[in-house]
């Protein structure tokens, strides 16, 4: 197996190296990160078709790298709170029966083929969000706020209801509540859009912030890819939390800490490396994900920080362009360099995560042995 890893690495290296050979290929290295001046302002461009005929090749990997990282970052922004929240909830509060079923369910979520996610995100969700910008924003704002309100209002609920609606089963009975909230958020959206944004949020955003809303943007990619990485992060983070010795948590609670305090003050510090490695592995998956980015991102090699613009990632460039690139040519090697970059990145991240996890596991087993 080590052989396979080595084989992949060696192959990529060997194929990419001629790119850097001083005399072999004619590709100037600076072009990889330089910014040829096209129209007055410096811009990083990825123009592989101009590799051979232009005097200055404009094939900067910078926008692709940027797009890859941006997509992964947004995916993590979506996935981390949801996955860690879910992990915390299921390891602390959830009824064991439900928990035993939740894990496989989330596993199913992970098995969802990325081409389907990309299709839904790119051709159903993206255009829908663009048409219903206000509704989408409304959902994002209303949901967390309403849940907090619910939590605050919970203590005034009649006891009978409280007994039925416990935190143990919250994951289930919150579903209809959330659906109701989503519906509510969507139906009030046109109202506040009319009050505050002159009836057209999209124009307002553009005029006041200069942000242009594209149908296929980084946020949509982030959402779809977040969906894909939630289960992975959840499973590992949950493992990490479950591996925390029980005595620690019980001790803290015996001293009067709430379960949430137990989590944040006692369990999380101990399990932090494990949680961290879970996030790392999630990031690794997000960076290499191809089909979702390819189908949902618009593939424009932009370098902007705006989450509403399109982006283009290394992986999707490889998928589109490699079959058409002549083997041995500069374009082919450049794409292989991109693959190498992906490989190296995920390799580092995964190794780091594995080492951290292994350390943690050993520490706990040792402690158990001591006790």
């Amino acid at each position: 197996m080590l052989l396979a890893v080595v084989a992949i690495a060696v192959f990529l290296l060997v194929e990419v190296l001629p790119l850097f050979w001083p005399d072999g290929a004619s590709f100037p290295l600076e072009a990889l990160w330089s910014s040829p001046d096209v129209s007055g302002e410096p811009e990083y461009r990825w123009l592989p078709h101009r590799l051979d005929d232009a005097a200055v090749p404009q094939a900067s990997l910078a926008p692709l790298l940027w797009g890859t990282l941006e997509a992964a970052a947004w995916a993590l922004v979506v996935a981390i709170p949801l996955a860690l929240g879910a992990a915390a909830h299921s390891s602390l509060y959830m009824s064991p029966g439900l928990r035993a079923r939740l894990k496989p369910t989330l596993e199913l979520m992970e098995a969802m083929p990325s081409v389907v996610l990309g299709f839904i995100a790119g051709l159903a969700l993206g255009p829908w969000v663009e048409r219903h910008l206000a509704q989408s924003l409304s959902i994002v704002v209303v949901l967390p706020a309403a849940v907090v309100l619910l939590a605050l209002g919970y203590r005034w609920l009649p006891d009978r209801l409280k007994a039925a609606l416990t935190l143990r089963w919250a994951a289930l009975w919150l579903i209809p509540c959330l659906l109701l909230l989503v519906w509510l958020a969507m139906s009030v959206a046109p109202m506040w859009e009319g009050w505050w944004f002159d009836g057209d949020l999209r124009l307002w955003v553009e005029e006041s912030w200069g942000l242009d809303v594209q149908a296929r943007n980084a946020l949509i990619v982030g959402l779809a890819m977040g969906f894909a990485v939630i289960p992975g992060i959840y499973a590992l983070a949950e493992d990490a939390l479950s591996d925390v010795p029980r005595e620690l948590a019980e001790g803290a609670q015996a001293m009067g800490a709430t379960r949430w305090q137990t989590l944040t003050r006692v369990m999380l510090p101990v399990a932090l490396p494990g949680v961290f490695s879970a996030i790392m592995i999630g990031a690794g998956r997000a960076v290499g994900e191809t089909m979702i980015v390819l189908m949902a991102s618009g593939n424009s090699a932009l370098m902007t920080a705006s989450p509403l613009d399109g982006l283009r990632s290394l992986a999707s460039s490889i998928a589109i362009e490699l079959p058409e690139a002549a083997p041995g040519g500069s374009h082919y090697r450049l794409l292989l360099l991109a693959a190498l970059a992906l490989f190296a990145f995920t390799f580092l991240v995964n190794t780091l995560a594995e080492v951290v996890r292994a350390r943690l596991k050993r520490r706990f087993t040792r402690r158990k042995g001591d006790a």
């Binding site: 192959f11 060997v14 194929e15 001629p18 096209v38 129209s39 811009e43 461009r45 123009l47 592989p48 078709h49 101009r50 926008p63 051709l123 255009p127 663009e130 048409r131 999209r202 124009l203 553009e206 242009d212 594209q214 149908a215 296929r216 390819l294 618009g298 593939n299 424009s300 090699a301 932009l302 613009d309 399109g310 283009r312 589109i320 362009e321 079959p323 058409e324 690139a325 002549a326 083997p327 041995g328 040519g329 082919y332």
Partner: protein, 360 residues
Amino acid sequence: MSRLSRCIGALKRTLLAPSRGPRTLSIAVSGEAPAAVSRVAPGAVSRVASRLVSGLVLSAMLVSAKVAAHDVAGSLDAIGSDTMAELMLRWGEQFEEQRPGVRLQLQVAGSASAPPALIAGTTLLGPMSRPMQEDESAAFIERHGYAPTPVVVGKDALVVVVNRHNPLSRLSRAELDAIFSDTLACGASESIERWQQLGLERPGGTIHLYGRNAVSGTHGLFRRRALCDGEFKVSVMVSAGSAAVVAAVGDDPAGIGYAGLNHLNADVKAVAIGNAEGGILPRRQSLRSGGYPLSRDLLIYVNRPPEGELPDVERAFLDMVLSPSGQRVVKELGFVALPPSVLAAQRHALGLAELPRDGP
């Protein structure tokens, strides 16, 4: 046992002398890729390593080796461009109906493999959505001693599309260039970023650009013809297919994009291209007359010696393609069929019988 020996016999025969079967027709369709490059030559270094491995895989290969040789000798390697694969398939279907028993093998994959296949003689017909490049035809002449014969089988065009609610109806070529490129090679003075710059009230805001990926022929054609060989803006949303461009523009009130003529539908509106006085819409007339600037021919390149004849099956296939029923397929798939005069000229050049007068 006897079966095995027969197999081995067949294997020997095909390996030693892979000849085309009597009733098979072989065609390779080009992809949309701008440059024709043989995909066979691997990287120099991996070649050495792979030799070793391939020795191991070899024994497993032997069984399928026979059929592969056999297939290539008589298979239709239709390599799927967005543009011509479906056309070839439909023609193939029609051809099979006319001549039951003719084996038509289409394989759809996606790159400009028609010229190399024609040069090597693996196929006699090479459909392409662009004319052969200098070096390609030079290589062909070098190998065969004569030039490949291009046969125009239909017309296609690139259409600039906007959302169906967009009031825009006409763009000058300089405006088109100023919208899509930032090199302004067609003579515009400033880049056009917003709809207001075109004098439109609606849709407000920034123009959203949609286009094709850099390796597609559509991208190359648009870049050469509409951008005067300039360069696209970075903000063009790149789709993997023309249909996706149309769908995106149909969903985006502020969108503009370009796509093949056959992808046009009710979600979008074609924009006339022209100068200040008037634009030309991609209609049948303007395409046939060559008035529309963004048109292209759909071609089948034929390997036909100057004083020889095509083999029977290929000839019959072209006969069908250049007949009213073959041209009906062109029309049905959304392309523009050839006018009768061109059709007759093509048939004459190929030495096919004249069509009966009553026409389609």
